[in-house]
């Protein structure tokens, strides 16, 4: 490919200011010495200029107002959902803590601090912890499924 042919390939992009500094200089240097390429470059520049001056479509009346109303309503609903989620998590944690702590508190109040560590206390504590872990695993799976469903809903907006 000759220099002339190579530069012709770049003329449209040169007019669109889409070349790097080296390529742009190469095109301009060649165009100064080549009337045919200079005319082509001018033609591409005319097209680029016309594209920059295309009339901007008119935004429909009330579109901005309708959009703001919808966005703010959705934002408020999302904030409410986040609050509901936080309350749910707090209540779950609270219920779990109360469940685990009740047995320890009762033992502590009846028999003192050492009673918390004896074997008769530890055995039910192991079962209680195991059942709590199973319950939380189930809750975790449910949370993942709910989260996935929400992401799907979000994507479809």
């Amino acid at each position: 490919m000759t220099e002339h042919e190579a530069v012709r390939e770049l003329l449209a992009l040169a007019a669109a200011s889409a070349l790097n500094a080296g390529e742009q200089r190469r095109v301009e240097d060649h165009a100064r010495a080549c009337p045919a390429c200079a005319r082509q470059l001018e033609a591409w520049r005319a097209l680029s200029g016309a594209l920059r001056r295309l009339p901007t479509p008119v935004v429909p009346a009330e579109l901005v107002a309708r959009t703001c109303t919808r966005v703010l309503a959705e934002s408020a609903a999302a904030a409410e959902r986040r609050w509901d989620d936080a309350v749910l998590v707090f209540l779950s944690l609270f219920a779990w803590t109360v469940g685990v702590a009740t047995w320890a508190i009762v033992r502590l109040m009846n028999n003192g601090l050492l009673a918390v560590l004896d074997a008769r206390f530890m055995q039910p504590m192991v079962w209680l912890t195991a059942s709590s872990v199973l319950a939380w695993l189930t809750a975790g799976v449910v949370a993942v499924l709910v989260g996935h469903r929400r992401r799907m809903t979000w994507r479809s907006l």
Binding site: L13, A16, A18, T56, V71
Partner: protein, 165 residues
Amino acid sequence: MAEEDSVVTLVTRYQHRLYRYLLRLVRDPATAEDLFQQTWLRVVQAIRRYDARRSFEAWLFSVAHNLAIDHLRRRRLESLDEPPAEPAASDPDALERCLALERAGLLAALMNELPAVYREVLTLRFEEDLKLEEIAEVVHAPLSTVKSRLRRALEGLRSMLEKQV
């Protein structure tokens, strides 16, 4: 109240550019309106993930691009692939005569006949004045692809303009 003000300010500031971009891409005013609203819903939902070091415009158009492309794919209204390159036009005088018709809206009408990927790159470069790197970010394509699309889009448009004479 602060959130409301921010939303109103942003939507108002970018209304013309975003609507124009969407309309050029989907060509249907009702669809562009719907996608306009969906874009802002998505922007507000994802605003915490926005990296302030990036250009907000590029991010906004990128969100709009994803929604518009999803829409075009779902509806299968037109191909999103790049068509084979057409031979480049070569008559500068014919082009100049055609550009005189620009005032009659011919250029915008012809641009509408280009494939979506070409309309998109033309509007982002010339109407939205985005840099090529920003366009690459919006359309999720390498810089070389953006350059190639831009050149083919200009050649396609010029060829169509010259056929009008």
